[in-house]
Symmetry: D2
Subunit: 214 residues, 4 copies
């Protein structure tokens, strides 16, 4: 039995909903034999990571998957890399707007996702869920959380795997935004469940075969 | 009791499916008291209109709604106007590729949709289905059918209302097409049903109020 | 010796410049043996056409080429067709915002450009100026002018040829608009001169050969 | 007197030209008191970096600016960060296609540009050259060169500053590619000169003031 912590942000940037929050609310508590715990986090740069760390301390997950909204993208973006920079184009939900600041002074320049991003993309494709590997999670709170969690794991919680996926707007968010892509919440949910299954399964397969993930 | 004929094309341009055909197969045979008849048409410019005319003759619908795929668009496009030109960028499914030819020599330069396009958009928006009014249906078989049916109605079947909507790719069509928009078949179906309901209802409302549609 | 009247709008929609106005100011007064006259017109729907009609009356041109800005498009759009509808998404420069109104009640549903649009595209391509044939000039003042001039010519000034081209933003307009396409004023100017030359030359060629333009 | 080495790739991906190569050929040999040396490099992943290293050894530049083509982008992209991964979507010009390989096993996960990216963007904007800060240089030869040069400098040539900019297609490359953005070679050249001037000037200013660059 393995445990995954799945985080989703509250709404920001004038939106009424955040599809990341909507989708985690719909996740089952178990996938196969494995446990899924969800955590709502604020779109506030330092607090978001602090809240995740508390949950890591108490829940002791094997994996952390963070989910954020990428308005304007048409497919589920599986993020490859988080960079050590906060450079906010808009303010976060408590008015912070760091420009060109390091997230952690003693962190690496970047951390790669330790989730099996290529296997995830393959499984999503097989199941007709549009997806792509993305090489930038931006420089706002999403990248901050992706980087922050990977940093904490490297420093204090070795062995946990973590990563980030961006999801498109859901249809209700693009009403009045001419020709902006969206994805149905049903398909996003289906996609996130496939991602979680892949994380659990690939890990199991690899243990059997002795291989390594990307 | 009113009757609507809803047409959908077969696949073209190398695609394995056409979402227009997929969605009409899922339509109910009745919406309220009203009848819905579906018709698969070939992506072949003259035959498509001929097949629709036969069905108009035998079924005697009150409305004709034609549906086509617009790969790359992110929302349901409610077409405003059809123009009297065939100018094909690719061949149709029988190898025809007319360049700068009139569709009907004695037709108007253009015909406007006689469906309530603004009411349709309002209803789609209220129901969180992304949509937009489009001012071009292109110059391929979609525009040909839209124009051809409007022409036939003006010449021979006065009183029938007709129009065209373009729908996005469905998710399975964009696997491997990086960041191309799609819409779930569920939401397309929901949208087409709303469109048909609006056509029936607005007509009814207008009869009551004596108003006119756009 | 032939004469062409080339019109350009003043700025609208919060922009400080209109590339259409900037480019006509740079046109030479003669191209070959032929005369070029420019005319600034207001982005106000009825006044724009009225001002052009006065100039047609006094200058008696052989051709009228109207130029407008299409912010967001990446290439010079050679418009194929104007439709008989005003449906303004924003107000014009005097606050008018007609919704779903006909431009002229006794006009055709649409008028096609009587300029040689395919020859124009060929010449632009040969000269490495990005261009495309466009099937919609929108439903704002640009379409209004395109339609209005074609209408006037059909009704009162038979023999004059007219049409419309949309041009992209110039670079100074996209500063701060992330990743929005633009075209240098130099290349737009080069393009407009090629268009005018093509109009003059094709006409001449056709007279010789007895052919007709699209 | 300072020295900058400016590199440009040869054509790839079926293109006949590479605007990066075209633009470096047009650079002056001196900008102010400072020297500009250009270097054509092959679109071949290891050879490109090897050729630059040889030139660093012999020319001993103060700065290395590498330029690459980013087809489809509309503005000059000033790259922020290079990542330690080769993951080629297409083959390079000698048929190499590494998938998910590290560029240098003992390198950092990523290196940030040591050029003044924000000052460069400010200067480009002041001069009406469209630009943006980009957070991904991709995972092809461009990122490889950006990363490789930064790695070499960190390991062996401390003190040299280096970075990367992506430039759009030039107009001749988008003929026949419907509505794909481009930028005139004139404006790209103007932009690259401004970038070089900014690199020289900011450095000078900073030496005077004792400050640091992003």
């Amino acid at each position: 039995m393995k445990k995954i912590l799945v985080t989703g942000f509250d709404p920001f940037g004038g939106e009424k909903v955040n599809p990341a929050l909507e989708v985690i609310k719909l996740l089952p508590k178990k996938i196969g034999e494995n446990e899924v715990r969800i955590l709502e986090i604020p779109t506030v740069y330092k607090k978001s990571v602090e809240k995740i760390e508390k949950e890591i301390e108490s829940y002791k997950p094997d994996y952390v998957l963070s989910i954020g909204q990428a308005g304007g993208r048409a497919s589920i973006s599986i993020e490859r890399v988080a960079i050590n920079i906060d450079d906010f184009r808009i303010k976060d939900n408590e008015g912070n707007q760091p420009i060109d600041e390091n997230i952690f002074e003693d962190g690496e320049n970047a951390y790669f996702s330790t989730l099996p991003i290529k296997s995830i993309q393959d499984e999503l494709s097989k199941n007709n869920i549009p997806s792509s590997i993305s090489n930038t999670a931006g420089t706002f709170v999403c990248n901050h959380v992706f980087y922050g969690v990977r940093y904490l794991i490297e420093k204090k919680y070795k062995g946990i795997k973590s990563g980030f996926v961006h999801i498109p707007y859901i249809p209700e968010q693009v009403i009045g935004k001419a020709n902006t892509p969206s994805m149905s919440l049903d398909n996003i949910l289906k996609g996130i469940i496939i991602i979680i299954e892949t994380i659990f399964n690939v890990e199991t397969d690899i243990k059997k075969s002795g291989g390594t993930i990307c």
